[in-house]
Amino acid sequence: MAKPVLIAAAAALAHAPGLIALGSKPAREIARDPSVAARIHANLRGFDAAVGYAPNQAFIGSVHPRAMGPRPHFNRILDGGQRFGPDGEIMPETEFLGLMALADQFKLIRLSPQLAQSSAEALMRHPLHDFFDPGKLRSAIGDPQVEVSRGAIPLHVTDTGIAGSLAAGHHEDTNLMAHVLAENLACKASGALALAHLLKLHDLDPASIDYVIGCSEEAVGDRYQRGGGNLGKAIAEMAGCVEASGADVKNFCAAPVPAIVIAASLVAAGVFRRVAVVGGGSLPKLGMKFEGHLKNSMPILEDSLGAVAALIGEDDGRSPVIRLDAIGRHRVKSGSSAEAIMDALVTAPLDQIGLKITSIDDYATELHNPELTEPQGSGNVPERNYRMLAAMAVRQKLIAREEIGRFVADHGMPGFAPTQGHVASAFCYLAHARRGLTDGGADRIMMMAKGSLFLGMMTGQSDGMSFILERNRG
Protein backbone atom coordinates (compact mmCIF):
# COMPACT_ATOMS: atom_id res chain seq x y z
CA MET A 1 0.00 0.00 0.00
CA ALA A 2 1.44 3.38 -1.01
CA LYS A 3 1.95 5.86 1.83
CA PRO A 4 -0.20 8.94 1.08
CA VAL A 5 1.35 12.34 1.81
CA LEU A 6 0.23 15.95 1.82
CA ILE A 7 2.27 17.28 -1.12
CA ALA A 8 0.97 20.83 -1.04
CA ALA A 9 -1.69 23.16 0.32
CA ALA A 10 -2.80 26.67 -0.61
CA ALA A 11 -5.33 29.21 0.62
CA ALA A 12 -7.02 32.24 -0.87
CA LEU A 13 -9.38 34.93 0.31
CA ALA A 14 -11.57 37.01 -1.95
CA HIS A 15 -12.37 40.33 -0.31
CA ALA A 16 -15.93 40.90 -1.50
CA PRO A 17 -17.73 43.50 0.66
CA GLY A 18 -20.09 44.28 -2.22
CA LEU A 19 -21.37 40.69 -2.12
CA ILE A 20 -22.34 40.89 1.57
CA ALA A 21 -25.83 42.07 0.55
CA LEU A 22 -26.27 38.65 -1.12
CA GLY A 23 -25.30 36.78 2.05
CA SER A 24 -28.18 34.80 3.54
CA LYS A 25 -28.65 36.82 6.73
CA PRO A 26 -28.07 40.31 5.24
CA ALA A 27 -30.38 39.53 2.29
CA ARG A 28 -33.17 38.48 4.66
CA GLU A 29 -32.73 41.53 6.87
CA ILE A 30 -32.60 43.90 3.87
CA ALA A 31 -35.81 42.36 2.51
CA ARG A 32 -37.44 43.01 5.89
CA ASP A 33 -36.07 46.53 6.23
CA PRO A 34 -34.40 48.15 3.19
CA SER A 35 -32.61 50.72 5.39
CA VAL A 36 -30.34 47.88 6.61
CA ALA A 37 -28.51 48.03 3.26
CA ALA A 38 -27.26 51.55 3.97
CA ARG A 39 -26.16 50.59 7.48
CA ILE A 40 -24.19 47.68 6.07
CA HIS A 41 -22.67 49.86 3.35
CA ALA A 42 -21.55 52.44 5.91
CA ASN A 43 -19.70 49.79 7.95
CA LEU A 44 -17.69 48.00 5.26
CA ARG A 45 -13.91 48.02 5.39
CA GLY A 46 -11.61 48.75 2.47
CA PHE A 47 -9.21 46.37 0.79
CA ASP A 48 -6.13 47.72 2.57
CA ALA A 49 -7.76 47.11 5.95
CA ALA A 50 -8.63 43.55 4.89
CA VAL A 51 -5.05 42.92 3.72
CA GLY A 52 -3.57 44.32 6.93
CA TYR A 53 -5.93 42.27 9.11
CA ALA A 54 -3.77 39.81 11.08
CA PRO A 55 -6.19 36.83 10.81
CA ASN A 56 -6.28 37.29 7.01
CA GLN A 57 -2.47 37.29 6.91
CA ALA A 58 -2.52 34.09 8.96
CA PHE A 59 -4.96 32.63 6.42
CA ILE A 60 -2.51 33.14 3.54
CA GLY A 61 0.43 31.90 5.59
CA SER A 62 2.37 35.14 6.20
CA VAL A 63 2.15 34.71 9.95
CA HIS A 64 1.40 31.71 12.17
CA PRO A 65 -1.91 32.07 14.04
CA ARG A 66 0.00 31.97 17.34
CA ALA A 67 2.05 34.99 16.21
CA MET A 68 -0.83 37.28 15.22
CA GLY A 69 -0.34 39.45 18.30
CA PRO A 70 -2.90 40.58 20.86
CA ARG A 71 -6.54 41.25 20.08
CA PRO A 72 -8.34 43.26 18.92
CA HIS A 73 -7.00 42.88 15.40
CA PHE A 74 -9.67 44.76 13.45
CA ASN A 75 -8.51 48.23 14.42
CA ARG A 76 -4.86 47.83 13.46
CA ILE A 77 -2.85 46.96 10.37
CA LEU A 78 -0.30 44.15 10.67
CA ASP A 79 3.19 45.36 9.82
CA GLY A 80 4.37 44.10 6.46
CA GLY A 81 1.04 42.55 5.51
CA GLN A 82 0.92 42.08 1.74
CA ARG A 83 -1.73 40.93 -0.66
CA PHE A 84 0.28 37.82 -1.61
CA GLY A 85 1.55 35.42 1.04
CA PRO A 86 3.43 32.09 1.10
CA ASP A 87 0.20 30.09 0.68
CA GLY A 88 -1.92 32.29 -1.60
CA GLU A 89 -3.48 35.71 -1.69
CA ILE A 90 -6.21 38.12 -0.68
CA MET A 91 -7.91 39.11 -3.96
CA PRO A 92 -9.66 42.48 -4.29
CA GLU A 93 -13.31 42.54 -5.34
CA THR A 94 -12.82 44.06 -8.81
CA GLU A 95 -10.62 41.13 -9.80
CA PHE A 96 -12.83 38.58 -8.12
CA LEU A 97 -15.91 39.77 -10.02
CA GLY A 98 -13.89 39.24 -13.19
CA LEU A 99 -12.98 35.76 -12.00
CA MET A 100 -16.66 35.01 -11.33
CA ALA A 101 -17.51 36.16 -14.85
CA LEU A 102 -14.74 33.92 -16.22
CA ALA A 103 -16.20 31.03 -14.20
CA ASP A 104 -19.61 31.62 -15.80
CA GLN A 105 -19.81 29.64 -19.04
CA PHE A 106 -23.47 30.50 -19.65
CA LYS A 107 -23.07 34.28 -19.99
CA LEU A 108 -25.37 35.07 -17.10
CA ILE A 109 -22.99 37.62 -15.54
CA ARG A 110 -22.82 40.98 -17.29
CA LEU A 111 -20.22 43.58 -16.39
CA SER A 112 -20.17 47.24 -17.35
CA PRO A 113 -17.41 48.07 -19.89
CA GLN A 114 -15.50 49.99 -17.18
CA LEU A 115 -15.66 47.15 -14.64
CA ALA A 116 -14.78 44.52 -17.24
CA GLN A 117 -11.82 46.56 -18.42
CA SER A 118 -10.38 47.38 -15.00
CA SER A 119 -10.85 43.77 -13.91
CA ALA A 120 -9.22 42.40 -17.06
CA GLU A 121 -6.27 44.79 -16.77
CA ALA A 122 -5.66 43.80 -13.16
CA LEU A 123 -6.00 40.09 -13.91
CA MET A 124 -3.53 40.43 -16.84
CA ARG A 125 -0.92 41.52 -14.29
CA HIS A 126 -1.86 38.71 -11.90
CA PRO A 127 0.71 35.92 -11.43
CA LEU A 128 -2.02 33.41 -12.32
CA HIS A 129 -3.12 35.15 -15.54
CA ASP A 130 -2.13 32.10 -17.60
CA PHE A 131 -4.71 30.02 -15.76
CA PHE A 132 -7.65 32.34 -16.29
CA ASP A 133 -7.24 34.03 -19.69
CA PRO A 134 -8.63 37.45 -18.65
CA GLY A 135 -8.97 38.52 -22.31
CA LYS A 136 -12.18 36.49 -22.34
CA LEU A 137 -13.80 39.11 -20.11
CA ARG A 138 -14.63 41.03 -23.26
CA SER A 139 -17.48 38.62 -23.83
CA ALA A 140 -18.93 39.43 -20.38
CA ILE A 141 -19.47 43.10 -21.25
CA GLY A 142 -23.10 44.16 -21.26
CA ASP A 143 -25.51 46.60 -19.69
CA PRO A 144 -26.08 45.44 -16.11
CA GLN A 145 -28.60 48.24 -15.54
CA VAL A 146 -30.82 46.91 -18.32
CA GLU A 147 -30.30 43.31 -17.17
CA VAL A 148 -31.52 44.21 -13.67
CA SER A 149 -34.60 45.94 -15.14
CA ARG A 150 -35.32 42.57 -16.81
CA GLY A 151 -35.06 40.64 -13.56
CA ALA A 152 -31.36 39.99 -13.05
CA ILE A 153 -29.88 40.66 -9.59
CA PRO A 154 -27.29 43.41 -9.06
CA LEU A 155 -23.88 41.85 -8.46
CA HIS A 156 -21.92 45.06 -8.09
CA VAL A 157 -23.23 48.53 -7.31
CA THR A 158 -21.05 51.65 -7.43
CA ASP A 159 -21.80 55.31 -6.76
CA THR A 160 -22.69 55.70 -10.43
CA GLY A 161 -25.01 52.71 -10.72
CA ILE A 162 -25.13 48.98 -11.26
CA ALA A 163 -21.84 47.76 -12.73
CA GLY A 164 -22.43 44.00 -12.56
CA SER A 165 -25.50 41.78 -12.84
CA LEU A 166 -26.39 38.10 -12.76
CA ALA A 167 -29.44 36.66 -14.52
CA ALA A 168 -31.31 33.51 -13.57
CA GLY A 169 -30.36 30.35 -15.42
CA HIS A 170 -33.99 29.28 -15.76
CA HIS A 171 -37.24 31.17 -15.21
CA GLU A 172 -38.98 28.48 -13.18
CA ASP A 173 -36.25 26.37 -11.59
CA THR A 174 -35.62 27.72 -8.09
CA ASN A 175 -32.25 25.93 -8.05
CA LEU A 176 -31.07 28.07 -10.94
CA MET A 177 -32.26 31.41 -9.64
CA ALA A 178 -29.73 34.22 -9.83
CA HIS A 179 -28.92 34.31 -6.12
CA VAL A 180 -28.30 30.54 -6.09
CA LEU A 181 -26.02 30.79 -9.12
CA ALA A 182 -24.21 33.69 -7.44
CA GLU A 183 -23.38 31.34 -4.56
CA ASN A 184 -22.27 28.58 -6.91
CA LEU A 185 -20.16 30.83 -9.14
CA ALA A 186 -18.50 32.56 -6.15
CA CYS A 187 -17.67 29.11 -4.81
CA LYS A 188 -16.31 27.87 -8.14
CA ALA A 189 -14.23 31.00 -8.79
CA SER A 190 -12.67 31.11 -5.32
CA GLY A 191 -12.02 27.35 -5.34
CA ALA A 192 -10.31 27.61 -8.72
CA LEU A 193 -8.24 30.51 -7.37
CA ALA A 194 -6.99 28.37 -4.46
CA LEU A 195 -6.25 25.40 -6.74
CA ALA A 196 -4.39 27.60 -9.26
CA HIS A 197 -2.28 29.04 -6.41
CA LEU A 198 -1.50 25.52 -5.21
CA LEU A 199 -0.30 24.50 -8.69
CA LYS A 200 1.71 27.68 -9.26
CA LEU A 201 3.28 27.96 -5.79
CA HIS A 202 4.43 24.35 -5.82
CA ASP A 203 5.38 24.26 -9.50
CA LEU A 204 2.98 21.42 -10.28
CA ASP A 205 1.82 20.48 -13.76
CA PRO A 206 -2.01 20.85 -13.82
CA ALA A 207 -2.16 17.83 -16.10
CA SER A 208 -0.52 15.70 -13.39
CA ILE A 209 -3.69 15.85 -11.25
CA ASP A 210 -5.79 12.71 -11.69
CA TYR A 211 -8.82 13.58 -9.60
CA VAL A 212 -10.30 16.63 -7.86
CA ILE A 213 -12.60 16.15 -4.88
CA GLY A 214 -14.78 19.17 -4.13
CA CYS A 215 -15.67 19.72 -0.48
CA SER A 216 -17.34 23.11 -0.85
CA GLU A 217 -20.60 23.95 0.88
CA GLU A 218 -22.67 24.61 -2.25
CA ALA A 219 -24.64 21.60 -3.50
CA VAL A 220 -25.15 22.72 -7.15
CA GLY A 221 -28.00 21.20 -9.11
CA ASP A 222 -31.35 21.63 -10.79
CA ARG A 223 -34.96 20.95 -9.83
CA TYR A 224 -34.64 17.24 -10.47
CA GLN A 225 -31.46 16.94 -8.43
CA ARG A 226 -30.87 19.83 -6.06
CA GLY A 227 -27.57 18.49 -4.81
CA GLY A 228 -26.24 17.27 -8.16
CA GLY A 229 -22.78 18.50 -7.32
CA ASN A 230 -19.38 18.12 -8.91
CA LEU A 231 -17.96 21.52 -8.33
CA GLY A 232 -14.77 19.48 -8.04
CA LYS A 233 -14.68 18.89 -11.78
CA ALA A 234 -15.89 22.42 -12.60
CA ILE A 235 -13.00 23.78 -10.54
CA ALA A 236 -10.56 21.28 -12.12
CA GLU A 237 -11.54 22.57 -15.57
CA MET A 238 -11.12 26.21 -14.56
CA ALA A 239 -7.66 25.52 -13.13
CA GLY A 240 -6.54 23.68 -16.27
CA CYS A 241 -6.42 20.17 -14.76
CA VAL A 242 -7.31 18.62 -18.11
CA GLU A 243 -6.56 15.03 -17.10
CA ALA A 244 -8.68 15.16 -13.97
CA SER A 245 -12.11 13.87 -13.26
CA GLY A 246 -13.79 14.74 -10.00
CA ALA A 247 -16.68 14.46 -7.57
CA ASP A 248 -17.91 16.19 -4.43
CA VAL A 249 -17.98 15.03 -0.83
CA LYS A 250 -20.80 16.52 1.23
CA ASN A 251 -20.84 16.54 5.02
CA PHE A 252 -21.81 20.01 6.20
CA CYS A 253 -18.81 21.80 7.73
CA ALA A 254 -16.91 18.55 8.22
CA ALA A 255 -16.62 17.77 4.48
CA PRO A 256 -12.92 18.64 3.95
CA VAL A 257 -11.67 16.05 6.43
CA PRO A 258 -13.50 13.04 4.94
CA ALA A 259 -12.57 14.42 1.49
CA ILE A 260 -8.89 14.29 2.42
CA VAL A 261 -9.25 10.84 3.96
CA ILE A 262 -10.92 9.60 0.76
CA ALA A 263 -8.22 11.26 -1.37
CA ALA A 264 -5.49 9.64 0.74
CA SER A 265 -7.24 6.27 0.47
CA LEU A 266 -7.42 6.54 -3.33
CA VAL A 267 -3.68 7.21 -3.42
CA ALA A 268 -2.90 4.44 -0.90
CA ALA A 269 -4.94 1.97 -2.95
CA GLY A 270 -3.09 2.92 -6.11
CA VAL A 271 -6.26 4.09 -7.87
CA PHE A 272 -4.82 7.57 -8.51
CA ARG A 273 -1.36 9.06 -8.03
CA ARG A 274 -2.40 12.64 -7.31
CA VAL A 275 -5.73 13.77 -5.89
CA ALA A 276 -6.57 17.41 -5.17
CA VAL A 277 -9.13 18.40 -2.54
CA VAL A 278 -10.70 21.84 -3.03
CA GLY A 279 -13.22 23.88 -1.07
CA GLY A 280 -14.44 27.17 -2.51
CA GLY A 281 -15.90 30.03 -0.50
CA SER A 282 -19.40 30.25 0.96
CA LEU A 283 -21.28 33.35 -0.22
CA PRO A 284 -24.37 32.67 1.97
CA LYS A 285 -22.19 33.10 5.06
CA LEU A 286 -20.94 36.59 4.20
CA GLY A 287 -22.21 39.02 6.81
CA MET A 288 -23.81 36.15 8.76
CA LYS A 289 -23.19 37.92 12.08
CA PHE A 290 -23.22 41.51 10.81
CA GLU A 291 -25.70 42.60 13.46
CA GLY A 292 -23.17 41.84 16.18
CA HIS A 293 -20.56 43.94 14.42
CA LEU A 294 -22.95 46.87 13.95
CA LYS A 295 -24.06 46.62 17.59
CA ASN A 296 -20.43 46.82 18.73
CA SER A 297 -19.42 49.63 16.34
CA MET A 298 -17.09 47.30 14.43
CA PRO A 299 -16.63 47.05 10.68
CA ILE A 300 -18.43 44.08 9.15
CA LEU A 301 -15.59 41.58 9.23
CA GLU A 302 -17.33 38.72 7.43
CA ASP A 303 -16.52 40.34 4.10
CA SER A 304 -14.26 37.69 2.53
CA LEU A 305 -14.76 34.33 0.88
CA GLY A 306 -12.24 31.71 2.01
CA ALA A 307 -10.98 28.89 -0.19
CA VAL A 308 -8.45 26.12 0.36
CA ALA A 309 -6.83 23.54 -1.91
CA ALA A 310 -4.66 20.55 -1.00
CA LEU A 311 -2.83 17.93 -2.98
CA ILE A 312 -2.50 14.36 -1.76
CA GLY A 313 -0.03 12.10 -3.54
CA GLU A 314 2.36 9.19 -3.27
CA ASP A 315 5.22 9.30 -0.79
CA ASP A 316 7.96 11.71 -1.85
CA GLY A 317 10.10 11.08 1.22
CA ARG A 318 9.55 14.61 2.55
CA SER A 319 5.90 15.66 2.68
CA PRO A 320 3.88 14.90 5.83
CA VAL A 321 2.29 11.46 5.96
CA ILE A 322 -1.47 11.02 6.40
CA ARG A 323 -1.89 8.21 8.97
CA LEU A 324 -4.68 6.09 7.56
CA ASP A 325 -4.32 3.68 10.49
CA ALA A 326 -5.64 6.29 12.93
CA ILE A 327 -8.72 7.91 11.42
CA GLY A 328 -11.16 9.17 14.02
CA ARG A 329 -14.81 8.93 13.12
CA HIS A 330 -18.02 9.79 14.90
CA ARG A 331 -20.12 6.63 14.74
CA VAL A 332 -23.90 6.47 14.69
CA LYS A 333 -23.73 4.94 18.18
CA SER A 334 -21.11 7.37 19.51
CA GLY A 335 -23.58 9.73 21.20
CA SER A 336 -24.02 13.45 20.84
CA SER A 337 -22.46 14.87 24.01
CA ALA A 338 -19.38 17.00 23.53
CA GLU A 339 -17.32 14.40 25.38
CA ALA A 340 -18.60 11.54 23.21
CA ILE A 341 -17.69 13.46 20.06
CA MET A 342 -14.20 14.30 21.33
CA ASP A 343 -13.68 10.71 22.44
CA ALA A 344 -14.58 9.45 18.97
CA LEU A 345 -12.44 12.01 17.15
CA VAL A 346 -9.42 12.23 19.44
CA THR A 347 -9.07 9.53 22.09
CA ALA A 348 -10.14 6.54 19.97
CA PRO A 349 -7.75 7.09 17.03
CA LEU A 350 -4.85 7.96 19.36
CA ASP A 351 -5.50 4.75 21.35
CA GLN A 352 -5.42 2.79 18.10
CA ILE A 353 -1.74 3.65 17.54
CA GLY A 354 -0.65 3.89 21.16
CA LEU A 355 -0.50 7.69 21.42
CA LYS A 356 -1.93 10.14 23.95
CA ILE A 357 -3.56 13.57 23.73
CA THR A 358 -0.24 15.12 24.65
CA SER A 359 1.55 13.26 21.81
CA ILE A 360 0.05 15.72 19.28
CA ASP A 361 1.88 19.02 18.77
CA ASP A 362 -0.96 21.02 17.22
CA TYR A 363 -4.65 20.39 17.07
CA ALA A 364 -6.47 22.05 14.20
CA THR A 365 -10.19 22.13 14.79
CA GLU A 366 -12.94 24.70 14.34
CA LEU A 367 -10.69 27.71 13.83
CA HIS A 368 -13.32 30.43 13.52
CA ASN A 369 -11.96 33.90 14.19
CA PRO A 370 -13.51 34.94 17.55
CA GLU A 371 -13.68 38.57 16.43
CA LEU A 372 -16.37 37.41 14.03
CA THR A 373 -18.34 35.24 16.44
CA GLU A 374 -18.09 36.90 19.86
CA PRO A 375 -19.94 40.15 19.03
CA GLN A 376 -23.01 38.08 18.09
CA GLY A 377 -22.87 35.93 21.23
CA SER A 378 -21.40 32.78 19.68
CA GLY A 379 -18.33 32.84 21.90
CA ASN A 380 -14.75 31.81 21.16
CA VAL A 381 -15.22 28.50 19.36
CA PRO A 382 -11.58 27.33 19.05
CA GLU A 383 -10.77 28.23 22.64
CA ARG A 384 -13.76 26.21 23.82
CA ASN A 385 -12.54 23.20 21.81
CA TYR A 386 -9.01 23.49 23.17
CA ARG A 387 -10.20 23.83 26.76
CA MET A 388 -12.27 20.70 26.23
CA LEU A 389 -9.23 18.83 24.93
CA ALA A 390 -7.25 20.05 27.93
CA ALA A 391 -10.05 18.96 30.28
CA MET A 392 -9.91 15.52 28.67
CA ALA A 393 -6.16 15.42 29.24
CA VAL A 394 -6.79 16.26 32.91
CA ARG A 395 -9.37 13.47 33.21
CA GLN A 396 -6.88 11.07 31.61
CA LYS A 397 -4.28 12.26 34.17
CA LEU A 398 -1.91 13.45 31.44
CA ILE A 399 -1.72 17.01 32.76
CA ALA A 400 -2.64 18.74 36.01
CA ARG A 401 -5.70 20.96 36.19
CA GLU A 402 -3.41 23.99 36.66
CA GLU A 403 -1.82 23.23 33.29
CA ILE A 404 -5.01 23.69 31.25
CA GLY A 405 -4.02 27.22 30.19
CA ARG A 406 -0.58 26.13 29.08
CA PHE A 407 -1.99 23.14 27.16
CA VAL A 408 -4.37 25.47 25.30
CA ALA A 409 -1.53 27.86 24.45
CA ASP A 410 0.91 25.14 23.37
CA HIS A 411 -1.34 22.68 21.52
CA GLY A 412 -4.05 25.06 20.35
CA MET A 413 -4.08 28.35 18.53
CA PRO A 414 -6.25 31.44 18.19
CA GLY A 415 -8.97 31.24 15.55
CA PHE A 416 -8.13 33.04 12.33
CA ALA A 417 -10.56 31.77 9.70
CA PRO A 418 -13.59 33.55 8.33
CA THR A 419 -16.87 31.95 9.42
CA GLN A 420 -17.00 29.83 6.27
CA GLY A 421 -17.77 26.57 8.11
CA HIS A 422 -15.87 24.01 6.04
CA VAL A 423 -12.84 26.26 5.52
CA ALA A 424 -12.66 27.05 9.23
CA SER A 425 -12.86 23.33 10.11
CA ALA A 426 -9.14 22.56 10.23
CA PHE A 427 -8.90 22.89 6.42
CA CYS A 428 -7.47 26.42 6.70
CA TYR A 429 -4.55 25.10 8.76
CA LEU A 430 -3.29 22.57 6.20
CA ALA A 431 -0.59 24.78 4.70
CA HIS A 432 0.63 25.80 8.17
CA ALA A 433 0.59 22.14 9.22
CA ARG A 434 2.64 21.11 6.20
CA ARG A 435 5.19 23.83 6.96
CA GLY A 436 5.35 22.86 10.63
CA LEU A 437 5.94 19.20 9.75
CA THR A 438 8.64 19.90 7.15
CA ASP A 439 10.58 23.09 7.92
CA GLY A 440 9.17 23.59 11.44
CA GLY A 441 9.55 21.63 14.64
CA ALA A 442 6.29 19.68 14.75
CA ASP A 443 6.10 15.88 14.58
CA ARG A 444 2.36 15.26 14.64
CA ILE A 445 -0.65 17.45 13.92
CA MET A 446 -4.26 16.36 14.21
CA MET A 447 -6.91 17.79 11.89
CA MET A 448 -10.50 17.36 13.00
CA ALA A 449 -13.85 18.61 11.82
CA LYS A 450 -17.45 18.41 12.95
CA GLY A 451 -20.62 18.73 10.91
CA SER A 452 -24.12 19.65 12.11
CA LEU A 453 -26.09 17.10 10.10
CA PHE A 454 -29.24 17.83 12.11
CA LEU A 455 -29.53 21.20 10.33
CA GLY A 456 -30.72 19.35 7.22
CA MET A 457 -33.51 17.65 9.24
CA MET A 458 -32.77 14.14 7.97
CA THR A 459 -31.31 12.97 11.28
CA GLY A 460 -30.63 14.27 14.73
CA GLN A 461 -27.01 13.15 14.37
CA SER A 462 -23.92 15.27 14.01
CA ASP A 463 -20.79 13.90 12.39
CA GLY A 464 -17.08 14.34 12.64
CA MET A 465 -13.80 12.94 11.43
CA SER A 466 -10.12 13.40 12.20
CA PHE A 467 -6.75 12.38 10.83
CA ILE A 468 -3.16 12.72 11.95
CA LEU A 469 -0.43 14.28 9.80
CA GLU A 470 3.02 13.04 10.74
CA ARG A 471 6.54 14.19 9.86
CA ASN A 472 7.93 12.07 7.03
CA ARG A 473 10.95 10.14 8.28
CA GLY A 474 11.85 9.14 4.72
Binding site: E291, S337, A338, E339, M342, E374, G377, S378, G379, N380, R384, R387, M388, A390, A391, M392, V394, R395, R401, I404
Partner: protein
Protein backbone atom coordinates in the same frame (compact mmCIF):
# COMPACT_ATOMS: atom_id res chain seq x y z
CA UNK B 1 -32.25 30.94 20.23
CA UNK B 2 -33.37 29.60 16.87
CA UNK B 3 -37.05 29.94 15.87
CA UNK B 4 -37.57 26.16 15.82
CA UNK B 5 -36.51 25.82 19.46
CA UNK B 6 -38.64 28.81 20.41
CA UNK B 7 -41.66 27.16 18.77
CA UNK B 8 -40.97 23.90 20.62
CA UNK B 9 -40.97 25.78 23.92
CA UNK B 10 -44.13 27.66 23.00
CA UNK B 11 -45.84 24.37 22.11
CA UNK B 12 -44.74 22.83 25.41
CA UNK B 13 -46.17 25.79 27.33
CA UNK B 14 -49.50 25.48 25.54
CA UNK B 15 -49.62 21.74 26.17
CA UNK B 16 -48.40 21.56 29.77
CA UNK B 17 -48.80 25.08 31.22
CA UNK B 18 -45.90 27.34 32.19
CA UNK B 19 -46.12 26.45 35.90
CA UNK B 20 -45.26 22.84 35.02
CA UNK B 21 -42.12 23.67 33.01
CA UNK B 22 -38.51 24.48 33.77
CA UNK B 23 -36.15 25.45 30.95
CA UNK B 24 -32.71 23.88 31.34
CA UNK B 25 -30.08 25.63 29.23
CA UNK B 26 -26.88 24.09 27.94
CA UNK B 27 -25.56 27.16 26.11
CA UNK B 28 -21.75 27.36 26.03
CA UNK B 29 -21.13 31.06 26.76
CA UNK B 30 -22.47 33.70 29.16
CA UNK B 31 -23.63 35.82 26.19
CA UNK B 32 -25.61 32.98 24.64
CA UNK B 33 -26.98 31.98 28.07
CA UNK B 34 -28.19 35.55 28.68
CA UNK B 35 -29.98 35.71 25.31
CA UNK B 36 -31.59 32.28 25.79
CA UNK B 37 -32.69 33.10 29.33
CA UNK B 38 -34.16 36.42 28.20
CA UNK B 39 -35.99 34.69 25.34
CA UNK B 40 -37.90 32.33 27.65
CA UNK B 41 -38.62 34.96 30.29
CA UNK B 42 -39.30 38.40 28.79
CA UNK B 43 -39.24 37.49 25.09
CA UNK B 44 -36.87 37.04 22.14
CA UNK B 45 -34.57 40.09 22.18
CA UNK B 46 -33.68 39.57 18.50
CA UNK B 47 -37.36 39.69 17.44
CA UNK B 48 -36.63 36.84 15.03
CA UNK B 49 -38.72 33.99 16.42
CA UNK B 50 -42.18 33.12 17.75
CA UNK B 51 -41.24 34.30 21.25
CA UNK B 52 -40.68 37.89 20.08
CA UNK B 53 -42.74 40.14 22.36
CA UNK B 54 -44.01 37.02 24.18
CA UNK B 55 -43.51 37.14 27.95
CA UNK B 56 -43.52 33.50 28.97
CA UNK B 57 -41.90 34.17 32.35
CA UNK B 58 -40.63 30.59 32.54
CA UNK B 59 -38.33 29.36 35.27
CA UNK B 60 -34.89 29.01 33.71
CA UNK B 61 -31.66 27.41 34.88
CA UNK B 62 -28.38 26.40 33.28
CA UNK B 63 -27.01 22.87 33.64
CA UNK B 64 -23.74 24.33 35.00
CA UNK B 65 -25.39 26.15 37.91
CA UNK B 66 -24.47 24.82 41.34
CA UNK B 67 -28.08 24.27 42.50
CA UNK B 68 -28.72 22.14 39.40
CA UNK B 69 -25.56 20.13 39.91
CA UNK B 70 -26.53 19.50 43.52
CA UNK B 71 -29.86 18.03 42.41
CA UNK B 72 -28.31 15.42 40.10
CA UNK B 73 -26.60 12.12 40.92
CA UNK B 74 -22.88 13.06 41.01
CA UNK B 75 -21.75 10.07 38.96
CA UNK B 76 -24.32 10.72 36.23
CA UNK B 77 -23.51 14.43 36.22
CA UNK B 78 -19.82 13.77 35.85
CA UNK B 79 -20.44 11.30 33.06
CA UNK B 80 -22.77 13.55 31.06
CA UNK B 81 -21.69 17.08 31.93
CA UNK B 82 -18.33 16.79 33.69
CA UNK B 83 -16.14 17.58 30.73
CA UNK B 84 -18.11 20.67 29.79
CA UNK B 85 -18.12 21.78 33.43
CA UNK B 86 -14.31 21.68 33.30
CA UNK B 87 -14.25 23.41 29.93
CA UNK B 88 -16.73 26.27 30.14
CA UNK B 89 -16.83 29.34 32.36
CA UNK B 90 -19.54 28.02 34.70
CA UNK B 91 -19.61 30.95 37.17
CA UNK B 92 -19.99 33.57 34.41
CA UNK B 93 -22.72 31.53 32.74
CA UNK B 94 -24.50 31.06 36.09
CA UNK B 95 -24.30 34.80 36.74
CA UNK B 96 -25.83 35.59 33.35
CA UNK B 97 -28.79 33.27 33.92
CA UNK B 98 -29.25 34.47 37.51
CA UNK B 99 -29.42 38.02 36.20
CA UNK B 100 -32.21 37.09 33.79
CA UNK B 101 -34.15 35.48 36.66
CA UNK B 102 -33.62 38.57 38.80
CA UNK B 103 -34.77 40.86 35.99
CA UNK B 104 -37.99 38.87 35.70
CA UNK B 105 -38.55 38.85 39.46
CA UNK B 106 -38.07 42.60 39.78
CA UNK B 107 -40.77 43.40 37.20
Amino acid sequence: MDPHTQQTILDAVQQHGKENLIVMLGTPSPEAAAIAAETVTTGDPTYAGPLAETRLGLTVYHILEEQVRAAIDPELYDQQVGLMADTLDGPAIAAAVAQARAALASE
